[in-house]
Symmetry: C2
Subunit: 318 residues, 2 copies
């Protein structure tokens, strides 16, 4: 099975999620409608809705609330991307101009707020756990971003700091998608817990790989310029390893402290010191843990698909 | 009774609201804590919590949820101010530097998101109506801002457009504060309705007066430079009246179309054409309607205080 296969299996439900998103963000304001349309047309594969739906696949019961939930979580994700692009001054998102670049920061901030409001509206109809979860996600994402801003160009950042940050930026959100999908399809408690842990580990692996791709990918596959983390002083796992566990640590520090880090120079060093491979191994460990979380679950299509998603995330950098 | 008197009467409860706000926004991230502290230290009198608490004064029952609700709505208001200052490029807020000016847009966007998350968290514990109301408020505020952005420098804007916009930007939020305060203190349905209408009319009057003050106030009392609406091409009631109902309409249009509107010139015209007085009369009409909504309510301290708030809003521009 490929990711296309997974998506095909879920097609009807994913379409319902997409419809729900489009339905709730409909607006009579022409500017708002135009910006929304532009942003949605460039939106990705929807990893979060896929995970919500698959995690809802361990019970026979497909509640309508699972669809609303998937739509709400995708809206939260999109809102956070809109604000992230303002925060990072990014001008590209998934190969097209970001909303802040095509319009301006103002419009991007507002569209993000609008999406948050719509997500909240949807999740309010789902139930108390959903509301709490969305509040927690926005809270955690914001804290993660604050930590990132606090640590720009800080070469003293440790692996622990990094893991805490990506937990907040990515892993907890993915964990919540899996947890709520299972919860609202009335799966047994142990299934909810295992899927939540699966999501956490998948999210950690995913973010580490994303950070590696910022070095190893090319602009086309990445959908944004490579090296953009480093340009902004965001220090990720390969660089942290290079600083702390290689003989070239002080060299890396000097390049970063110049405030206009020479991407090629750092990339060359961390490739040679094995720091890229180290980060890859860490990602593999998290992938492995994600797979282990699936083991006790009953065999079913959803389980196969969730395993495949781990494999596909892994294939991104290997 | 003065506003100080009202605040004094509510002191214990307002302190509980303030404490609740500070409690929920507490953060271990030093940057986040510092920016939060700065912003809170410059925060205003808290009209929204006051209205929530007073509207909760028509039943004997002071539910803990009313305190949480007041704190949540104040957080939503503060979040919207943070984002508004980014949207309007404002560098002053209540006489001190805005967060976007003192730090940057990034920090202001994030702090706003953080406050939204905390508001949501609080209101999630209050109940379904609260969550729906907060979703609706953020939604309406955003639509109001989008309408404002869509109409910048548009001299064809009508009074109806204007009233719709300020309804979205201000009046519905104030109405919701009054409505929920009454609702969660278990006031009878007709009291809830009357207070909601009171809030709506108060909010309309308040916003019209705020827009007048952008012409008539001085920087010190306004806490920001005068004429800033006009500089951004935001066309408010006095100007709309001047364009449509005075002999100097085309003159005003020409000044606005220059894209760097001469504030003093426009102010001179709209004062002479009676457009400022016209806007004041409109505000008075809404104030009057707000007072009328109070008439059927039982006599009590809360009612007197709500009437006083109308008077005080009125005193701002007369």
């Amino acid at each position: 099975m490929t990711l296309e296969g997974v998506v095909q299996e879920l097609e009807t439900d994913l379409q319902r999620v997409g419809q729900k998103v489009r339905e709730v963000v409909k607006s009579s304001n022409p500017l708002l409608a135009r910006v929304t349309e532009y942003f949605l047309s460039g939106s990705g594969k929807g990893l979060r809705p896929i995970l919500v739906l698959l995690s809802g696949g361990f019970s026979k019961y497909r509640d309508d609330r699972v669809i609303s939930l998937a739509a709400a979580l995708e809206l939260v994700h999109m809102a956070s991307l809109l604000h992230d692009d303002v925060i990072d001054n990014s001008d590209t998102r998934r190969g097209q101009m970001s909303v802040n670049a095509k319009w301006n920061n103002q419009i991007a901030v507002l569209l993000g707020d609008f999406f948050y409001a719509k997500a909240l509206n949807l999740v309010g109809s789902v139930g108390k756990e959903g509301v709490e979860a969305v509040a927690q996600i926005i809270n955690t994402l914001t804290e993660g971003e604050f930590e990132q801003l606090s640590c720009q160009f800080n070469t003293l950042i440790t692996e622990d700091d990094y893991f805490q940050r990506i937990e907040k930026k990515t892993a907890r959100f993915i964990a919540t998608c899996c947890k709520l999908g299972a919860l609202y399809s009335e799966a047994p408690e142990e299934v909810v817990d295992l899927l939540s842990q699966y999501g956490f580990n998948l999210g950690m692996a995913y973010q580490i790989r994303d950070d590696i791709l910022d070095f190893t990918a090319n602009k086309k596959t990445l959908g944004k310029p490579v090296g953009s983390d480093l340009q902004q002083g965001i220090i990720t796992l390969p660089v942290i390893h290079g600083i702390n566990y290689s003989s070239k640590g002080s060299e890396i520090i000097n390049i970063i402290k110049s405030k206009k880090p020479d991407f090629a120079a750092i990339y060359k060093i961390i490739r040679e010191t094995g720091s890229i491979s180290y980060a890859q191994k860490k990602a593999e460990q998290f992938s492995q843990r994600a797979r282990e979380c699936l083991l006790p679950l009953p065999e079913c299509k959803a389980k196969n698909a969730l395993r495949l998603i781990v494999d596909l995330t892994e294939a991104r950098t290997s």
